[in-house]
Amino acid sequence: MRARLNKTWVLFSVWFAHMSAYRAEIVIWMLSGAIPLIMMAVWIGKARAAGGHTGGFNEQQFAAYFLAAWITQQLIVAWVAWELDYQIRQGHLSPKLLRPLDPMWEFFAGHYSERLVRLPFMLLIVFAGLLIVPGTRLTPDIWHVLLYTLSVTVAFFTRFLIAYCIGILAFWFDQATAIDDFYFVAAAFLTGAFAPLEFYPPALRAFIEWTPFPYLVYYPVRVLTGEAPGPEIARVFGVQLLWAAGFYALRSALWRRGLARYGAVGA
Protein backbone atom coordinates (compact mmCIF):
# COMPACT_ATOMS: atom_id res chain seq x y z
CA MET A 1 0.00 0.00 0.00
CA ARG A 2 2.82 2.36 0.99
CA ALA A 3 4.69 1.52 -2.23
CA ARG A 4 1.51 2.22 -4.22
CA LEU A 5 1.01 5.60 -2.57
CA ASN A 6 4.66 6.44 -3.18
CA LYS A 7 4.30 5.47 -6.87
CA THR A 8 1.22 7.64 -7.19
CA TRP A 9 2.85 10.61 -5.49
CA VAL A 10 6.10 10.39 -7.51
CA LEU A 11 4.28 9.93 -10.82
CA PHE A 12 2.01 12.90 -10.20
CA SER A 13 4.76 15.20 -8.96
CA VAL A 14 7.17 14.33 -11.79
CA TRP A 15 4.46 14.62 -14.43
CA PHE A 16 3.31 17.92 -12.92
CA ALA A 17 6.87 19.19 -13.39
CA HIS A 18 6.82 17.86 -16.95
CA MET A 19 3.49 19.50 -17.78
CA SER A 20 4.56 22.79 -16.20
CA ALA A 21 7.21 23.03 -18.90
CA TYR A 22 4.33 23.28 -21.40
CA ARG A 23 2.19 25.84 -19.51
CA ALA A 24 2.15 28.36 -22.39
CA GLU A 25 1.02 25.69 -24.86
CA ILE A 26 -1.61 24.49 -22.39
CA VAL A 27 -3.18 27.98 -22.28
CA ILE A 28 -3.39 27.96 -26.08
CA TRP A 29 -5.00 24.49 -26.04
CA MET A 30 -7.50 25.80 -23.48
CA LEU A 31 -8.51 28.64 -25.78
CA SER A 32 -8.96 26.20 -28.67
CA GLY A 33 -11.72 24.49 -26.64
CA ALA A 34 -13.85 27.63 -26.39
CA ILE A 35 -17.06 26.26 -28.01
CA PRO A 36 -19.12 26.47 -24.76
CA LEU A 37 -18.02 30.09 -24.24
CA ILE A 38 -19.03 30.99 -27.81
CA MET A 39 -22.34 29.17 -27.38
CA MET A 40 -22.86 31.03 -24.10
CA ALA A 41 -22.78 34.33 -25.99
CA VAL A 42 -25.13 32.95 -28.67
CA TRP A 43 -27.72 31.63 -26.19
CA ILE A 44 -27.59 34.72 -23.94
CA GLY A 45 -28.21 36.84 -27.06
CA LYS A 46 -31.14 34.59 -27.93
CA ALA A 47 -32.60 34.92 -24.41
CA ARG A 48 -32.27 38.72 -24.51
CA ALA A 49 -33.99 38.81 -27.90
CA ALA A 50 -36.83 36.70 -26.45
CA GLY A 51 -37.31 39.10 -23.54
CA GLY A 52 -34.97 37.50 -21.01
CA HIS A 53 -36.02 33.81 -21.20
CA THR A 54 -35.90 31.01 -23.71
CA GLY A 55 -36.71 27.34 -23.10
CA GLY A 56 -36.86 27.94 -19.35
CA PHE A 57 -33.34 29.43 -19.15
CA ASN A 58 -32.58 33.07 -18.38
CA GLU A 59 -29.29 34.86 -19.08
CA GLN A 60 -27.72 33.92 -15.73
CA GLN A 61 -28.74 30.27 -16.09
CA PHE A 62 -27.22 30.12 -19.57
CA ALA A 63 -24.05 31.75 -18.24
CA ALA A 64 -23.84 29.27 -15.34
CA TYR A 65 -24.55 26.30 -17.65
CA PHE A 66 -21.98 27.17 -20.31
CA LEU A 67 -19.30 28.29 -17.84
CA ALA A 68 -19.75 24.96 -16.04
CA ALA A 69 -19.75 23.14 -19.40
CA TRP A 70 -16.51 24.86 -20.35
CA ILE A 71 -14.88 23.96 -17.01
CA THR A 72 -16.05 20.38 -17.41
CA GLN A 73 -14.78 20.14 -20.96
CA GLN A 74 -11.41 21.46 -19.78
CA LEU A 75 -11.27 18.93 -16.96
CA ILE A 76 -12.10 15.89 -19.09
CA VAL A 77 -9.86 16.67 -22.06
CA ALA A 78 -7.72 13.65 -23.08
CA TRP A 79 -5.07 13.38 -25.79
CA VAL A 80 -3.91 9.88 -24.90
CA ALA A 81 -5.31 8.48 -28.19
CA TRP A 82 -2.75 10.57 -30.11
CA GLU A 83 0.09 9.80 -27.75
CA LEU A 84 -0.61 6.08 -27.72
CA ASP A 85 -1.14 5.90 -31.48
CA TYR A 86 2.24 7.58 -32.04
CA GLN A 87 4.09 5.50 -29.45
CA ILE A 88 2.69 2.22 -30.77
CA ARG A 89 3.48 3.00 -34.41
CA GLN A 90 6.95 4.42 -33.68
CA GLY A 91 7.94 1.80 -31.10
CA HIS A 92 8.29 4.38 -28.31
CA LEU A 93 6.00 2.28 -26.15
CA SER A 94 8.81 -0.26 -25.67
CA PRO A 95 10.61 1.40 -22.72
CA LYS A 96 7.25 1.72 -20.91
CA LEU A 97 6.42 -1.95 -21.52
CA LEU A 98 9.70 -3.01 -19.92
CA ARG A 99 8.70 -1.56 -16.55
CA PRO A 100 6.49 -3.33 -14.00
CA LEU A 101 3.68 -0.79 -14.29
CA ASP A 102 0.82 -0.69 -16.78
CA PRO A 103 1.75 2.24 -19.07
CA MET A 104 -1.84 3.47 -18.72
CA TRP A 105 -1.11 4.78 -15.23
CA GLU A 106 1.78 6.89 -16.44
CA PHE A 107 -0.38 8.40 -19.18
CA PHE A 108 -3.10 8.91 -16.58
CA ALA A 109 -0.69 10.69 -14.23
CA GLY A 110 0.35 12.98 -17.10
CA HIS A 111 -3.26 13.88 -17.87
CA TYR A 112 -4.33 14.29 -14.28
CA SER A 113 -1.40 16.48 -13.24
CA GLU A 114 -1.97 18.63 -16.32
CA ARG A 115 -5.34 19.62 -14.80
CA LEU A 116 -3.44 21.35 -11.99
CA VAL A 117 -1.49 23.39 -14.55
CA ARG A 118 -4.79 24.41 -16.19
CA LEU A 119 -6.53 25.29 -12.95
CA PRO A 120 -5.24 28.87 -12.34
CA PHE A 121 -6.05 29.91 -15.94
CA MET A 122 -9.47 28.25 -15.70
CA LEU A 123 -10.35 30.12 -12.53
CA LEU A 124 -9.31 33.41 -14.17
CA ILE A 125 -11.56 32.83 -17.18
CA VAL A 126 -14.51 31.69 -15.05
CA PHE A 127 -14.10 34.76 -12.82
CA ALA A 128 -14.13 36.99 -15.93
CA GLY A 129 -17.25 35.17 -17.19
CA LEU A 130 -19.06 35.76 -13.90
CA LEU A 131 -18.21 39.48 -14.06
CA ILE A 132 -19.47 39.79 -17.64
CA VAL A 133 -22.91 38.36 -16.75
CA PRO A 134 -23.78 39.92 -13.35
CA GLY A 135 -25.94 37.88 -11.03
CA THR A 136 -24.68 34.52 -12.36
CA ARG A 137 -24.43 31.85 -9.66
CA LEU A 138 -22.23 28.95 -10.77
CA THR A 139 -23.02 26.68 -7.83
CA PRO A 140 -25.30 26.85 -4.80
CA ASP A 141 -22.80 25.67 -2.17
CA ILE A 142 -19.54 23.84 -1.44
CA TRP A 143 -21.31 20.45 -1.23
CA HIS A 144 -22.29 20.69 -4.87
CA VAL A 145 -18.67 21.54 -5.70
CA LEU A 146 -17.53 18.40 -3.89
CA LEU A 147 -20.18 16.25 -5.60
CA TYR A 148 -19.20 17.79 -8.93
CA THR A 149 -15.52 17.01 -8.25
CA LEU A 150 -16.42 13.33 -7.84
CA SER A 151 -18.67 13.34 -10.90
CA VAL A 152 -16.17 15.11 -13.15
CA THR A 153 -13.38 12.80 -11.97
CA VAL A 154 -15.38 9.77 -13.13
CA ALA A 155 -16.28 11.64 -16.34
CA PHE A 156 -12.60 12.35 -16.97
CA PHE A 157 -11.65 8.72 -16.33
CA THR A 158 -14.34 7.60 -18.79
CA ARG A 159 -13.19 10.04 -21.47
CA PHE A 160 -9.59 8.98 -20.81
CA LEU A 161 -10.54 5.32 -21.25
CA ILE A 162 -12.48 6.04 -24.46
CA ALA A 163 -9.41 7.81 -25.84
CA TYR A 164 -7.19 4.96 -24.63
CA CYS A 165 -9.35 2.37 -26.41
CA ILE A 166 -9.10 4.45 -29.60
CA GLY A 167 -5.31 4.75 -29.22
CA ILE A 168 -4.96 0.98 -28.74
CA LEU A 169 -6.51 0.49 -32.17
CA ALA A 170 -3.11 1.59 -33.55
CA PHE A 171 -2.06 -2.02 -32.93
CA TRP A 172 -4.40 -2.87 -35.83
CA PHE A 173 -4.71 0.32 -37.91
CA ASP A 174 -2.19 2.78 -39.28
CA GLN A 175 -4.00 5.92 -38.09
CA ALA A 176 -6.30 5.25 -35.14
CA THR A 177 -6.51 8.96 -34.35
CA ALA A 178 -8.95 9.40 -37.25
CA ILE A 179 -11.51 7.75 -34.96
CA ASP A 180 -10.69 10.26 -32.22
CA ASP A 181 -11.43 13.07 -34.71
CA PHE A 182 -14.86 11.49 -35.18
CA TYR A 183 -15.26 11.41 -31.39
CA PHE A 184 -14.68 15.19 -31.21
CA VAL A 185 -17.47 15.86 -33.72
CA ALA A 186 -19.88 13.50 -31.93
CA ALA A 187 -18.95 14.85 -28.49
CA ALA A 188 -19.51 18.47 -29.53
CA PHE A 189 -23.17 17.65 -30.30
CA LEU A 190 -23.93 14.90 -27.83
CA THR A 191 -22.26 15.99 -24.57
CA GLY A 192 -24.31 19.18 -24.26
CA ALA A 193 -21.48 21.58 -25.08
CA PHE A 194 -23.56 23.26 -27.84
CA ALA A 195 -26.79 23.48 -25.90
CA PRO A 196 -28.47 22.06 -22.80
CA LEU A 197 -30.13 18.74 -23.71
CA GLU A 198 -33.53 20.31 -22.90
CA PHE A 199 -33.32 22.00 -26.31
CA TYR A 200 -32.83 18.73 -28.24
CA PRO A 201 -35.76 16.97 -29.98
CA PRO A 202 -37.19 14.33 -27.57
CA ALA A 203 -36.32 11.38 -29.82
CA LEU A 204 -32.71 12.54 -30.21
CA ARG A 205 -32.42 13.17 -26.49
CA ALA A 206 -33.78 9.72 -25.70
CA PHE A 207 -31.09 8.25 -27.95
CA ILE A 208 -28.34 10.37 -26.40
CA GLU A 209 -29.32 9.23 -22.92
CA TRP A 210 -28.24 5.70 -23.88
CA THR A 211 -24.72 6.88 -24.78
CA PRO A 212 -21.92 7.89 -22.41
CA PHE A 213 -21.77 11.43 -23.84
CA PRO A 214 -24.25 13.30 -21.56
CA TYR A 215 -22.49 11.80 -18.54
CA LEU A 216 -19.25 13.46 -19.60
CA VAL A 217 -20.48 17.09 -19.60
CA TYR A 218 -24.26 17.63 -19.32
CA TYR A 219 -24.94 15.76 -16.08
CA PRO A 220 -21.77 16.88 -14.21
CA VAL A 221 -22.82 20.44 -15.14
CA ARG A 222 -26.26 19.86 -13.63
CA VAL A 223 -24.61 18.60 -10.44
CA LEU A 224 -22.38 21.69 -10.17
CA THR A 225 -25.09 24.24 -10.94
CA GLY A 226 -27.49 22.63 -8.47
CA GLU A 227 -30.08 21.79 -11.14
CA ALA A 228 -29.98 18.05 -10.39
CA PRO A 229 -32.05 16.90 -7.41
CA GLY A 230 -30.69 14.24 -5.00
CA PRO A 231 -32.13 11.13 -6.72
CA GLU A 232 -30.81 12.34 -10.09
CA ILE A 233 -27.34 12.83 -8.63
CA ALA A 234 -27.39 9.26 -7.31
CA ARG A 235 -28.52 7.93 -10.71
CA VAL A 236 -25.84 9.99 -12.52
CA PHE A 237 -23.10 8.54 -10.30
CA GLY A 238 -24.40 5.02 -10.87
CA VAL A 239 -24.52 5.36 -14.66
CA GLN A 240 -21.15 7.13 -14.76
CA LEU A 241 -19.52 4.30 -12.81
CA LEU A 242 -21.11 1.72 -15.12
CA TRP A 243 -19.72 3.45 -18.22
CA ALA A 244 -16.28 3.82 -16.61
CA ALA A 245 -16.25 0.13 -15.64
CA GLY A 246 -17.41 -0.86 -19.14
CA PHE A 247 -14.68 1.10 -20.88
CA TYR A 248 -12.09 -0.16 -18.37
CA ALA A 249 -13.03 -3.75 -19.23
CA LEU A 250 -12.96 -2.94 -22.95
CA ARG A 251 -9.56 -1.29 -22.58
CA SER A 252 -8.15 -4.32 -20.76
CA ALA A 253 -9.45 -6.74 -23.41
CA LEU A 254 -8.13 -4.61 -26.30
CA TRP A 255 -4.79 -4.12 -24.55
CA ARG A 256 -4.23 -7.87 -24.10
CA ARG A 257 -5.01 -8.59 -27.74
CA GLY A 258 -3.15 -5.54 -29.03
CA LEU A 259 0.09 -6.36 -27.20
CA ALA A 260 0.31 -9.65 -29.08
CA ARG A 261 0.42 -7.61 -32.30
CA TYR A 262 2.97 -5.02 -31.10
CA GLY A 263 5.79 -4.67 -33.59
CA ALA A 264 8.22 -2.76 -31.28
CA VAL A 265 9.65 -1.13 -34.39
CA GLY A 266 12.90 0.79 -34.34
CA ALA A 267 15.84 0.44 -32.00
Binding site: A3, N6, K7, W9, V10, L11, V14, A17, H18, A21, Y22, G91, H92, S94, P95, K96, L97, L98, R99, P100, L101, L259, A260, R261, Y262, G263, A264, G266, A267
Partner: protein, 349 residues
Protein backbone atom coordinates in the same frame (compact mmCIF):
# COMPACT_ATOMS: atom_id res chain seq x y z
CA UNK B 1 16.15 -14.71 -10.03
CA UNK B 2 12.97 -16.68 -9.49
CA UNK B 3 11.60 -19.73 -7.79
CA UNK B 4 12.78 -21.84 -10.74
CA UNK B 5 16.29 -20.43 -10.69
CA UNK B 6 18.67 -23.25 -9.84
CA UNK B 7 22.39 -23.14 -10.35
CA UNK B 8 22.17 -25.87 -12.99
CA UNK B 9 19.31 -24.29 -14.94
CA UNK B 10 20.39 -21.87 -17.65
CA UNK B 11 19.00 -18.38 -17.08
CA UNK B 12 17.99 -18.12 -20.71
CA UNK B 13 16.49 -21.09 -22.56
CA UNK B 14 15.43 -20.78 -26.18
CA UNK B 15 14.20 -23.65 -28.34
CA UNK B 16 12.94 -23.39 -31.92
CA UNK B 17 12.06 -19.74 -31.42
CA UNK B 18 10.36 -18.25 -34.43
CA UNK B 19 8.97 -14.86 -35.40
CA UNK B 20 7.10 -14.27 -38.62
CA UNK B 21 5.97 -10.77 -39.59
CA UNK B 22 3.30 -9.79 -42.06
CA UNK B 23 4.60 -6.98 -44.26
CA UNK B 24 2.48 -4.90 -46.61
CA UNK B 25 4.06 -4.18 -49.97
CA UNK B 26 3.24 -1.42 -52.41
CA UNK B 27 4.63 -0.46 -55.79
CA UNK B 28 5.83 3.17 -55.99
CA UNK B 29 3.74 5.93 -57.57
CA UNK B 30 0.03 6.63 -58.05
CA UNK B 31 -0.71 3.36 -59.80
CA UNK B 32 0.88 1.44 -56.95
CA UNK B 33 -1.11 3.48 -54.41
CA UNK B 34 -4.39 2.80 -56.24
CA UNK B 35 -3.63 -0.90 -56.56
CA UNK B 36 -2.74 -1.05 -52.87
CA UNK B 37 -5.94 0.84 -52.00
CA UNK B 38 -8.05 -1.83 -53.70
CA UNK B 39 -6.00 -4.81 -52.62
CA UNK B 40 -3.07 -4.72 -50.20
CA UNK B 41 -0.35 -7.20 -50.98
CA UNK B 42 1.00 -9.00 -47.95
CA UNK B 43 4.16 -11.02 -47.61
CA UNK B 44 5.41 -13.05 -44.70
CA UNK B 45 8.90 -12.31 -43.39
CA UNK B 46 10.57 -14.93 -41.21
CA UNK B 47 12.70 -12.62 -39.04
CA UNK B 48 13.78 -15.36 -36.62
CA UNK B 49 13.72 -18.93 -37.88
CA UNK B 50 13.67 -21.63 -35.21
CA UNK B 51 16.73 -20.63 -33.23
CA UNK B 52 17.84 -22.50 -30.11
CA UNK B 53 20.42 -21.70 -27.45
CA UNK B 54 20.93 -21.57 -23.69
CA UNK B 55 22.82 -19.06 -21.59
CA UNK B 56 24.04 -19.65 -18.04
CA UNK B 57 23.96 -17.11 -15.23
CA UNK B 58 26.77 -14.58 -15.41
CA UNK B 59 27.66 -15.27 -19.05
CA UNK B 60 28.20 -12.37 -21.44
CA UNK B 61 27.21 -13.31 -24.97
CA UNK B 62 27.65 -11.29 -28.14
CA UNK B 63 24.85 -11.40 -30.71
CA UNK B 64 26.37 -10.68 -34.09
CA UNK B 65 24.85 -10.44 -37.52
CA UNK B 66 24.29 -8.04 -40.40
CA UNK B 67 21.43 -5.54 -40.39
CA UNK B 68 18.09 -7.32 -40.59
CA UNK B 69 19.57 -10.64 -39.46
CA UNK B 70 17.06 -11.02 -36.61
CA UNK B 71 19.25 -10.09 -33.62
CA UNK B 72 17.07 -7.28 -32.30
CA UNK B 73 13.88 -9.24 -32.98
CA UNK B 74 15.28 -12.10 -30.90
CA UNK B 75 16.23 -9.71 -28.08
CA UNK B 76 12.78 -8.15 -28.09
CA UNK B 77 11.18 -11.58 -27.77
CA UNK B 78 13.48 -12.38 -24.85
CA UNK B 79 12.53 -9.09 -23.19
CA UNK B 80 8.82 -9.76 -23.66
CA UNK B 81 8.16 -6.90 -26.09
CA UNK B 82 7.40 -9.16 -29.03
CA UNK B 83 5.26 -12.24 -28.90
CA UNK B 84 6.94 -15.19 -30.65
CA UNK B 85 5.10 -16.87 -33.51
CA UNK B 86 6.27 -20.24 -32.22
CA UNK B 87 8.86 -21.88 -30.01
CA UNK B 88 9.90 -22.08 -26.38
CA UNK B 89 11.52 -19.26 -24.45
CA UNK B 90 12.18 -18.85 -20.74
CA UNK B 91 14.15 -16.10 -19.04
CA UNK B 92 14.83 -16.77 -15.38
CA UNK B 93 12.07 -19.34 -15.47
CA UNK B 94 9.51 -16.84 -16.81
CA UNK B 95 7.65 -16.68 -20.09
CA UNK B 96 8.70 -13.19 -21.26
CA UNK B 97 5.52 -12.33 -23.17
CA UNK B 98 3.49 -12.66 -19.97
CA UNK B 99 5.42 -9.64 -18.63
CA UNK B 100 5.00 -10.64 -15.01
CA UNK B 101 6.21 -8.15 -12.40
CA UNK B 102 8.89 -10.49 -11.06
CA UNK B 103 10.25 -10.98 -14.59
CA UNK B 104 10.25 -7.26 -15.43
CA UNK B 105 12.00 -6.42 -12.15
CA UNK B 106 14.87 -8.70 -13.11
CA UNK B 107 15.55 -7.73 -16.69
CA UNK B 108 16.41 -4.65 -18.66
CA UNK B 109 16.67 -3.87 -22.35
CA UNK B 110 18.84 -0.94 -23.34
CA UNK B 111 18.13 0.25 -26.84
CA UNK B 112 20.63 2.70 -28.23
CA UNK B 113 18.00 4.44 -30.32
CA UNK B 114 15.04 4.44 -27.95
CA UNK B 115 14.99 6.42 -24.75
CA UNK B 116 13.09 6.14 -21.53
CA UNK B 117 14.23 9.42 -19.95
CA UNK B 118 11.71 12.26 -19.83
CA UNK B 119 12.95 14.73 -22.43
CA UNK B 120 12.04 18.01 -20.71
CA UNK B 121 13.12 17.12 -17.19
CA UNK B 122 16.46 16.36 -15.53
CA UNK B 123 17.47 12.69 -15.60
CA UNK B 124 17.11 12.60 -11.80
CA UNK B 125 13.33 12.92 -12.18
CA UNK B 126 13.23 9.86 -14.44
CA UNK B 127 15.39 8.02 -11.89
CA UNK B 128 12.87 8.90 -9.16
CA UNK B 129 10.05 7.52 -11.32
CA UNK B 130 12.00 4.28 -11.79
CA UNK B 131 12.78 4.11 -8.08
CA UNK B 132 9.06 4.30 -7.33
CA UNK B 133 7.96 1.92 -10.10
CA UNK B 134 10.55 -0.73 -9.23
CA UNK B 135 9.95 -0.14 -5.49
CA UNK B 136 13.65 0.36 -4.79
CA UNK B 137 14.27 1.10 -1.08
CA UNK B 138 15.79 4.53 -0.43
CA UNK B 139 19.12 3.30 0.95
CA UNK B 140 19.60 0.91 -1.98
CA UNK B 141 18.71 3.70 -4.43
CA UNK B 142 21.22 6.08 -2.83
CA UNK B 143 23.95 3.44 -2.81
CA UNK B 144 23.34 2.52 -6.46
CA UNK B 145 23.30 6.18 -7.48
CA UNK B 146 26.60 6.82 -5.69
CA UNK B 147 28.16 3.83 -7.39
CA UNK B 148 26.85 4.66 -10.88
CA UNK B 149 27.78 8.34 -10.49
CA UNK B 150 31.33 7.33 -9.73
CA UNK B 151 31.79 4.78 -12.51
CA UNK B 152 29.85 6.65 -15.19
CA UNK B 153 30.91 10.13 -14.00
CA UNK B 154 27.33 11.39 -13.79
CA UNK B 155 28.17 14.21 -11.39
CA UNK B 156 27.00 17.53 -12.78
CA UNK B 157 24.74 16.16 -15.50
CA UNK B 158 21.91 14.63 -13.46
CA UNK B 159 20.20 17.96 -12.80
CA UNK B 160 20.36 19.19 -16.40
CA UNK B 161 17.35 18.82 -18.68
CA UNK B 162 17.78 15.63 -20.70
CA UNK B 163 17.34 17.51 -23.98
CA UNK B 164 20.34 19.69 -23.07
CA UNK B 165 22.66 16.69 -22.64
CA UNK B 166 25.12 15.48 -25.25
CA UNK B 167 24.51 12.06 -26.82
CA UNK B 168 27.21 10.49 -24.65
CA UNK B 169 25.87 12.06 -21.45
CA UNK B 170 22.34 10.97 -22.34
CA UNK B 171 23.45 7.41 -23.04
CA UNK B 172 25.19 7.21 -19.66
CA UNK B 173 21.98 8.40 -17.99
CA UNK B 174 19.90 5.93 -20.04
CA UNK B 175 22.16 3.11 -18.93
CA UNK B 176 21.97 4.19 -15.29
CA UNK B 177 18.15 4.45 -15.49
CA UNK B 178 17.93 1.00 -17.06
CA UNK B 179 20.11 -0.60 -14.36
CA UNK B 180 18.88 1.28 -11.32
CA UNK B 181 16.82 -1.70 -10.19
CA UNK B 182 19.88 -3.99 -10.47
CA UNK B 183 18.48 -6.44 -13.02
CA UNK B 184 20.08 -9.85 -13.30
CA UNK B 185 19.58 -10.16 -17.05
CA UNK B 186 20.72 -7.39 -19.39
CA UNK B 187 19.76 -7.13 -23.05
CA UNK B 188 21.96 -4.45 -24.58
CA UNK B 189 21.04 -3.52 -28.13
CA UNK B 190 23.66 -1.25 -29.64
CA UNK B 191 24.39 0.51 -26.33
CA UNK B 192 27.35 2.44 -27.73
CA UNK B 193 25.89 3.49 -31.06
CA UNK B 194 26.95 6.99 -32.10
CA UNK B 195 29.32 7.44 -29.15
CA UNK B 196 32.95 8.48 -29.42
CA UNK B 197 35.71 5.98 -28.67
CA UNK B 198 36.33 7.18 -25.10
CA UNK B 199 32.66 6.94 -24.23
CA UNK B 200 32.44 3.49 -25.81
CA UNK B 201 35.31 2.35 -23.58
CA UNK B 202 33.64 3.80 -20.48
CA UNK B 203 30.33 2.09 -21.23
CA UNK B 204 32.14 -1.21 -21.86
CA UNK B 205 34.00 -0.95 -18.57
CA UNK B 206 30.77 -0.18 -16.79
CA UNK B 207 29.01 -3.23 -18.26
CA UNK B 208 31.98 -5.45 -17.38
CA UNK B 209 32.01 -4.14 -13.82
CA UNK B 210 28.25 -4.60 -13.48
CA UNK B 211 28.57 -8.19 -14.71
CA UNK B 212 31.29 -8.88 -12.15
CA UNK B 213 29.44 -7.23 -9.25
CA UNK B 214 26.02 -8.77 -9.79
CA UNK B 215 26.87 -11.92 -11.74
CA UNK B 216 24.50 -10.53 -14.36
CA UNK B 217 23.77 -12.37 -17.57
CA UNK B 218 24.35 -10.14 -20.59
CA UNK B 219 23.38 -10.40 -24.23
CA UNK B 220 24.95 -7.68 -26.30
CA UNK B 221 24.46 -6.66 -29.90
CA UNK B 222 26.79 -4.08 -31.36
CA UNK B 223 28.15 -2.95 -34.66
CA UNK B 224 31.35 -2.01 -32.87
CA UNK B 225 33.33 -5.22 -32.81
CA UNK B 226 35.48 -3.81 -30.00
CA UNK B 227 32.41 -3.95 -27.71
CA UNK B 228 31.99 -7.62 -28.41
CA UNK B 229 35.65 -8.64 -28.24
CA UNK B 230 36.14 -6.69 -25.00
CA UNK B 231 33.12 -8.15 -23.21
CA UNK B 232 32.07 -11.48 -24.68
CA UNK B 233 33.86 -14.79 -24.85
CA UNK B 234 30.86 -16.47 -26.40
CA UNK B 235 29.43 -15.35 -29.72
CA UNK B 236 26.15 -16.22 -31.37
CA UNK B 237 26.09 -15.26 -35.01
CA UNK B 238 22.68 -14.84 -36.61
CA UNK B 239 22.13 -14.46 -40.33
CA UNK B 240 18.79 -14.39 -42.10
CA UNK B 241 17.06 -15.53 -38.91
CA UNK B 242 19.28 -18.60 -38.43
CA UNK B 243 22.08 -19.20 -35.97
CA UNK B 244 25.16 -19.82 -38.11
CA UNK B 245 27.65 -19.97 -35.25
CA UNK B 246 27.48 -20.42 -31.47
CA UNK B 247 30.72 -20.75 -29.56
CA UNK B 248 33.91 -19.09 -28.35
CA UNK B 249 35.11 -16.00 -30.11
CA UNK B 250 38.47 -17.70 -30.72
CA UNK B 251 36.70 -20.71 -32.26
CA UNK B 252 34.72 -18.35 -34.47
CA UNK B 253 37.93 -16.80 -35.73
CA UNK B 254 39.39 -20.26 -36.35
CA UNK B 255 36.28 -21.49 -38.14
CA UNK B 256 35.61 -18.44 -40.22
CA UNK B 257 39.20 -17.50 -40.87
CA UNK B 258 41.34 -20.61 -40.96
CA UNK B 259 44.35 -18.52 -41.97
CA UNK B 260 46.70 -16.16 -40.18
CA UNK B 261 48.48 -13.16 -41.59
CA UNK B 262 52.30 -13.15 -41.55
CA UNK B 263 53.28 -9.49 -41.76
CA UNK B 264 56.77 -9.10 -43.20
CA UNK B 265 59.13 -6.16 -43.31
CA UNK B 266 61.83 -7.05 -45.84
CA UNK B 267 65.38 -5.74 -45.85
CA UNK B 268 65.59 -5.95 -49.66
CA UNK B 269 63.14 -6.37 -52.50
CA UNK B 270 61.61 -9.81 -53.16
CA UNK B 271 59.29 -10.64 -56.06
CA UNK B 272 55.56 -11.17 -55.50
CA UNK B 273 55.86 -14.63 -57.07
CA UNK B 274 58.42 -15.69 -54.50
CA UNK B 275 56.28 -14.45 -51.61
CA UNK B 276 53.22 -16.16 -53.07
CA UNK B 277 55.05 -19.49 -52.78
CA UNK B 278 54.47 -19.40 -49.00
CA UNK B 279 50.83 -18.29 -49.01
CA UNK B 280 48.36 -15.85 -50.44
CA UNK B 281 49.86 -12.38 -50.85
CA UNK B 282 47.11 -10.14 -49.51
CA UNK B 283 48.99 -6.85 -49.39
CA UNK B 284 52.24 -5.48 -50.83
CA UNK B 285 53.69 -2.01 -50.43
CA UNK B 286 57.41 -1.74 -51.19
CA UNK B 287 59.26 -3.72 -48.55
CA UNK B 288 56.10 -4.48 -46.57
CA UNK B 289 54.06 -7.57 -47.40
CA UNK B 290 51.16 -9.51 -45.83
CA UNK B 291 51.02 -13.23 -46.53
CA UNK B 292 47.96 -15.29 -45.54
CA UNK B 293 48.94 -18.83 -44.51
CA UNK B 294 46.95 -21.83 -43.19
CA UNK B 295 46.49 -21.47 -39.42
CA UNK B 296 47.91 -24.93 -38.58
CA UNK B 297 51.05 -24.29 -40.67
CA UNK B 298 51.72 -20.76 -39.44
CA UNK B 299 54.80 -21.37 -37.31
CA UNK B 300 56.50 -23.68 -39.84
CA UNK B 301 55.86 -21.32 -42.76
CA UNK B 302 56.93 -18.26 -40.75
CA UNK B 303 60.15 -20.07 -39.80
CA UNK B 304 60.84 -20.93 -43.46
CA UNK B 305 60.22 -17.33 -44.52
CA UNK B 306 62.67 -16.14 -41.86
CA UNK B 307 65.25 -18.61 -43.06
CA UNK B 308 64.77 -18.18 -46.81
CA UNK B 309 63.82 -14.50 -47.22
CA UNK B 310 65.63 -11.26 -46.28
CA UNK B 311 63.33 -10.46 -43.38
CA UNK B 312 63.98 -7.41 -41.20
CA UNK B 313 60.91 -7.91 -39.00
CA UNK B 314 57.95 -10.29 -38.77
CA UNK B 315 54.64 -10.32 -36.89
CA UNK B 316 51.86 -12.91 -36.98
CA UNK B 317 48.26 -11.74 -36.58
CA UNK B 318 44.73 -13.04 -36.63
CA UNK B 319 42.72 -11.30 -39.31
CA UNK B 320 40.59 -8.41 -38.00
CA UNK B 321 37.35 -9.69 -36.42
CA UNK B 322 35.31 -7.38 -38.68
CA UNK B 323 36.77 -9.16 -41.68
CA UNK B 324 36.11 -12.56 -40.13
CA UNK B 325 32.47 -11.76 -39.51
CA UNK B 326 32.14 -10.24 -42.96
CA UNK B 327 33.56 -13.42 -44.44
CA UNK B 328 31.17 -15.52 -42.39
CA UNK B 329 28.14 -13.53 -43.52
CA UNK B 330 29.26 -13.67 -47.10
CA UNK B 331 29.48 -17.42 -46.79
CA UNK B 332 32.94 -17.33 -48.22
CA UNK B 333 34.82 -18.73 -45.30
CA UNK B 334 35.45 -21.97 -47.11
CA UNK B 335 36.62 -20.14 -50.20
CA UNK B 336 39.11 -18.27 -48.03
CA UNK B 337 40.71 -21.58 -47.10
CA UNK B 338 40.72 -22.68 -50.71
CA UNK B 339 42.23 -19.37 -51.69
CA UNK B 340 45.42 -20.26 -49.87
CA UNK B 341 47.52 -21.49 -52.80
CA UNK B 342 48.66 -25.06 -53.11
CA UNK B 343 52.26 -23.84 -53.02
CA UNK B 344 51.81 -23.03 -49.40
CA UNK B 345 51.14 -26.65 -48.56
CA UNK B 346 54.15 -27.73 -50.58
CA UNK B 347 56.29 -25.16 -48.83
CA UNK B 348 55.07 -26.46 -45.50
CA UNK B 349 56.28 -29.96 -46.22
Amino acid sequence: MSHTDHSTTPVIQVRDLEKVYTVHEKEPGLRGSLASFVRRRKTLVRAVDRISFEIDAGQMVGFLGPNGAGKTTALKMLAGLLHPTDGFVRVGGHVPKERRTEFLKNITLVMGQKQQLLWDLPALDSFLVNQAIYEIPNDEYQATMREFSEILELEGILKKQVRKLSLGERMKCELAAALLHRPRVLFLDEPTIGLDVNMQVRIREFVAEYNRRFNATVILTSHYMADVTALCKRIIVIDKGHIVFDGDLSALVEEAAPGKTVRLELSENVSDERLSFYGKLTSREGLFADVLVPRNETSRLAARMLAELPVADVTIEDPPIEGVIGTLFAGTNRQAVDAVPAGAEQAAR
